[in-house]
Symmetry: D2
Subunit: 257 residues, 4 copies
């Protein structure tokens, strides 16, 4: 059979990225409390394509992924990227996996246990140098300081999502980034709250009002102090309970070493 992909291309146009997207895959990832955790990932993998090749070999991405035996611990990403570079004859290989991650949390008063879900991200690139971004989205409560200050009783509050992305020079657990976000919020979220817990989180949130601007600043202060982190971006998106649109803030910083 003719290998159409290997035909010479004369358009003199290199391609930055070519690969597969939205591939769903059951994986195991590292878990600080239970060693490993089963979850389901959305995977994308791509390489650059020099100008003289017409096409890449899409099936090889899947073959390389299959060789992982569904284990996608962070340290496997580099090996996968090396194989992608070699087997697809590329100068640059990138991979992104997104997956839900569950942590057992105790309610603040009753101690009742339940699972909270966090969306996580591993994003790796291997070219001359390698690059890795770890990310997690943490849903929290934020309570508006302005509403609280002005109002006789109560204050509007809402579910917010805090998105943290970091580059690191030493290993950082997803759980640690989650703690930074939950400590900074008006209150963490829980899947299970008994009545005494609901009282506690309501009061805690009222006692710790946070603008969307405060939210990203507080998380950024944690990330600034953590010397393992060399770069970060933190966003918060508040699903305002008094509006039908969202409030939003973002800080990004490459720390001077």
């Amino acid at each position: 059979m003719i290998d159409v992909q290997n035909q010479k291309d004369i358009r003199n146009m290199p391609i930055d990225r070519v690969g597969v997207k939205n591939l769903r895959y059951p994986v195991t990832v590292l878990d600080r409390s239970n060693r490993e955790q089963h979850t389901v990932a959305s995977v994308s993998m791509d390489v650059n394509l020099p100008h003289h090749f017409r096409g890449t070999h899409m099936s090889r991405f899947i073959e390389i992924l299959n060789e992982t035996h569904r284990e996608l611990h962070i340290d496997k990403i580099t090996k996968i990227l090396q194989r992608m570079k070699k087997r697809l004859e590329a100068e640059q290989a990138s991979m992104e996996i997104r997956f839900p991650y569950f942590i057992e949390k105790k309610a603040p008063v009753s101690g009742a246990e339940s699972l909270m879900e966090y969306q996580c991200l591993y994003q790796g690139t291997l070219a001359d140098r390698s690059d890795f971004i770890l990310g997690v989205d943490v849903p929290v409560t934020t309570l508006c300081p302005c509403s609280r200050e002005m109002s006789e009783h109560g204050a509007h509050n809402q579910r917010s999502v805090v998105r943290i992305r970091v580059r690191t020079c030493k290993f950082v657990w997803i759980e640690e980034l989650i703690e930074y976000a939950e400590q900074s919020a008006s209150s963490p979220l829980y899947a299970l709250l008994k009545r005494e817990d609901e009282k506690a989180v309501t009061e805690q949130a009222y006692d710790k009002p946070m603008f969307v601007e405060d939210m990203v600043r507080e998380v950024a202060l944690h990330l600034e102090k953590d010397n393992r982190i060399t770069w970060y971006a933190v966003e918060s998106e508040n699903m305002e309970s008094i509006h039908n649109h969202d409030a939003y803030a973002r800080i990004e910083n490459l720390k001077s070493q």
Copy 2:
């Protein structure tokens, strides 16, 4: 050319619905304040197919839609359904259009004007009898009575969506259904609130705590009392500010006439 769709089918299997889905279309709809409003709809249209035909003629759905000249006022739906029945030789024709609808609202204290978006639904069916469902999704604030009762200060509150669907024996404005939902909520939402408005809606919500169960009951009471409405379904979904999941309630009732 052979007309493959008109081939006889011997599988003896009638099809309940066949048609097009997720067709996007710019339309004008009726507007109580401004006579008409421009918006963009998602349209689906389908007919039944008797067992002896192999296929329907998909292009005719689009032709019929084009004959509306983009005007999809409610009273046009019946004409479209009649054409679908006739031109596609069907016993039953159905059409559903969903569209964002905007209403100018005044903030409660400052009177500042802004636009609120509501997702609307027209769902028509024509067989031996005709059927029409009018729907609207109304985003509101709900404040938890239990949290308020137990807590020293504050109460958790959140954005909720109230979904109303009605069958009527007389014309009902979308705006009227929206009023039923907003009057029942802890507070309506606004796109623009000045500081004095934010104080007012915060206090109003605190003074009118509503469970998700209260929300659907209050709207249902309005719908029960309105004699133009012969059937209704009302749902509320609260994006809980203390959980990462939603609370949900639903009432459906065919009113005895």
Copy 3:
């Protein structure tokens, strides 16, 4: 503390459904080849609420779910529904779980193995009688018979999703429903195809053109013949490669016993 939920309600308005939605949960489900499979579910749980209670106890849904120890095999659903009825003092309890499910498939010529994802549904209700619906969404290829018949070369084809829902009087594997859909399609999909496989699936699809109407009829014939199945609904939605909208067909049938 006052139990606000247990307050008497005087609005005389029973609620059909009240509960939790969009709760994400890691689960294990039955797997025909590997006994069980880890996946991540979206869960909703609800009960009816008699007119004299003001509110339900949302936290109990989560407690009941936690007692399953993350095992949500089909036969556990009934036990969960029984607990929901009892602990929430309800006459009716419903539960719905949706989850991605993976099956190892061999490419048709090379035999190369890869994983295919299918979205599954368990939907159980327990009132005076119990009801259970099993569902699966199967992505397939469909190739247009009309386009093939008229054109000198080629025929337009596309990714389609076949949605099967069944009630049964005997156990049916998800895998069996998937086989019905894949056998009926122009071709099944695969995550990994080598060049010889791509040739085979292209030719197979060309040799087996299927309208969206054919697709649902062929699956319906399988479901009609299967005596374990007492009711079914089958839909197909084709993401047409020549249009920006989808073609759609649906058959539903309560089989006479």
Copy 4:
């Protein structure tokens, strides 16, 4: 009332972006054929916040938007950004609007007219210098050259989305970018095709097979030749009819002037 937002902030942490997101708004935009077009946009607006301010004034974003009287022609963006900078006392202001845009197209043989929808993007930033990105997503058909070459009959093909983003030194119509994508594809899409048209587009696609790599290269060649364009990024995402994942390619280039 105390102005909490204007309080001094001592955390010494400037914020890159703070504003509103997912605000829905009915707008009119420029239309090459009909002067202007009504549509519905999703709007985000943000500014930077110096380290010494605690919060921005979210309501001012909405006030500024309201002053546009719903006209969001491209040339209005700069005025909006200037107002944002001034009224929010910021050094940088950004705005993004996304909206569906409809163009009347004639079917290739019958000349039957129908509307095609394209998702568009205006992205403006004003700091010391101003920046503007124009974007459009164009759905097309792509037919696989490899599948065609190897197979006795037929070739797999699918709906693909081509995403074009450009910076320009002279005005460029959305319609011109759409033409670049549609001319490069195996075939454009249409909402309405009669049988003679379906034959024509099927045969055209078979005669012009395009890998996802070819797709982005062909569009990039058009963008390279157009001297009004100073920078571009072009992506294509193919919803493969033989896989359940997507194939993807991307080229980005800052043209040397």
